[in-house]
Symmetry: C2
Subunit: 347 residues, 2 copies
């Protein structure tokens, strides 16, 4: 591992769409944000809607008629890739906090190895939003020549103190839940209260005040989300957060979340050297950097810095600051604007 | 109380600076944000530094050589005014959650009564930042003619869904701490973990990403704030939050915090009628509205709306959007910019 530990027999889960061509030069390697699985879009094997359903598919912006798309579940996550919830082969029991220190670089390496196992030596494009935006930079730093083009969406060269503050509060909400039990919670009793709080705060930081004004205003909470508990939810926005929290508690493993969240805080491309020099060695021909002005967590200034470093490193770089009001999550919501940017870059 | 309850024998704590003149027309009534006491500045009776030390005093922007300044501890707080931590005269025990529903209007009324008890029928100016910015609007709505001028600093006409979301997460951090015990915590075992989390999140929302980039960057945490606990603080910004949290836990009562925080969510001047019409009846001659562009919690759009309503209500209104980078807390930190605005308005 990047920070020194060793992981034996690690697995990397991925899904693919489209066909690798004979020249093996039409692959798109897609890294995800903190929470999604590799299921970016539906497929014959798994018809459920994917997390980027309207972006990845035949004729869509990431066109699976042209590209062989590989989406990777991050190492350290809990959707098939090895992480703290996986069984340690040495003991047969979950790693929990004995999982080695996880770095964004490890996620990049795991994705790179998955791509190589599919016969991809040089991807046409590597794409990543959010955490994935950090991963694509780590990928460029670690594997020169492994991609012709790079797309960073709402990522950063190094986690900002503001984002670190917000993520560390989310982690503390979990670790201070007595049900967390220093990572030794049971499946029937996860740290639900802490995970719920962490998800609520995450949801706030992924959106924007302007969007919520339009969407929720001061409408009252839905009757089925009312309660007689003291200080219960009164406003619609509180009900929305509550339903987000309830879904999340059973969908994601708490220890995996803690590891991935901390890996984001620790990410700093400058640990590899001057960003322009590091990215200059990556052999990228072109790059696209998309950011959103209403993003609280990965500011538009940070997007500009990513674009400048890529440009200074020699990639022909397009910087697209978008006016979406949905904040950090805009790439999941404003498919029209993001699709237009991706489509015109990927021609 | 505004929402229907009754409070017997309530007390309102206040401090004063300067002298009320013979005409009784030089009073400045100052309401506070959520957490401060009435101790805005030092005095012979209490030489400790106040929360607006460099703003209130002889020759300062709020000039106590000219004005008789009265700062009020909010009803519901825990610094001398009656609140959930106070003894209920009917039982001799703390009210805790039997304290009646608290509204911003109650805080305004308590301050108004305190001023009247000092012989002030019409204040020269009513000033309030943050929660205080809500209180001054409630004061204008409830007590027509009770002030000649009004200064709203980073307040709002009605709490936004984004601010409600953030405050409700802070409250939930407290109510889900087992030590909260449905409000029945003991003095030697307050809900320290929940209060700490709430304070950390509060601190993030009171500041800005740009300020913290300058101030903390990615510096490591101070050695004395390191720990061997899993997921312990690694960055300077986390150490800063931790020291804020530790100070707060012993400085503020959890139930009081919950009541005041919810009162902010519930505040909506439009419950009194159309804001311009409501403020039009207040008899204000002049108003000053100061807001900060980097404020996450009370957006600059909300400041503009306050100014427009005051102007439409007939007060000669100056709107001062400031470029401070310290976010919502700028009024406590950027004394130079804020002082200049207050001084030039109060001539």
């Amino acid at each position: 591992m990047w920070r020194g530990g060793v992981l034996h027999g690690a697995q990397v889960a991925y899904e693919t769409w489209g066909e690798l061509n004979a020249a093996r030069d039409n692959a798109v390697l897609l890294f995800t944000g903190l929470s999604p699985s590799a299921h970016a879009a539906s497929s014959p094997e798994d018809p459920r809607e994917g997390w980027w359903q309207r972006m990845v598919g035949p004729g869509l912006a990431i066109d699976t008629d042209r590209f062989f798309v590989v989406c990777v579940n991050s190492l350290g996550s809990c959707f098939g890739s090895t992480g703290p919830a996986s069984a340690d082969p040495a003991t047969g029991r979950p790693y929990r906090l004995s999982f080695p220190d996880l770095a964004v670089e490890d996620i990049a390496r795991a994705g790179h190895e998955a791509a190589r196992s599919l016969g991809i030596e040089r991807a046409d494009t590597v794409i990543g939003p959010s955490l994935g935006g950090m991963v694509v930079l780590a990928h460029a730093a670690l594997f020169p020549g492994a991609a012709r083009r790079l797309i960073s969406i709402s990522g950063t060269i190094a986690a900002s103190p503001f984002a670190i503050a917000l993520r560390s509060i989310q982690r503390e909400a979990i670790t201070s839940d007595p049900d967390w039990r220093h990572g030794h919670y049971t499946a029937d009793r996860p740290p639900a209260s802490g995970m719920g709080l962490a998800r609520k705060l995450g949801t706030v930081t992924y959106r924007s005040a302007a969007e919520w004004q339009q969407r929720f205003d001061r409408h009252p909470v839905r009757p089925d989300l009312r309660s007689n508990e003291p200080f219960a939810a009164e406003f619609s926005v509180q009900g929305y957060l509550e339903s987000q929290a309830r879904r999340w508690v059973n969908a994601f493993d708490a220890n995996c979340y803690l590891y991935l969240s901390r890996a984001m805080d620790r990410f700093d491309l400058t640990a590899h050297g001057d960003p322009a020099a590091v990215l200059g060695k990556a052999g990228l021909e072109q790059a696209l950097v998309i950011g959103v002005e209403s993003d609280l967590l990965f500011s538009i200034t940070e997007q500009q810095a990513v674009a400048q470093a890529l440009q200074a490193g020699g990639a022909a770089t397009r910087f697209s600051p978008l006016q979406c009001i949905e904040g950090h999550d805009s790439f999941l919501l404003d498919i029209e604007r993001f699709g237009r940017e991706l489509r015109s870059f990927l021609v």
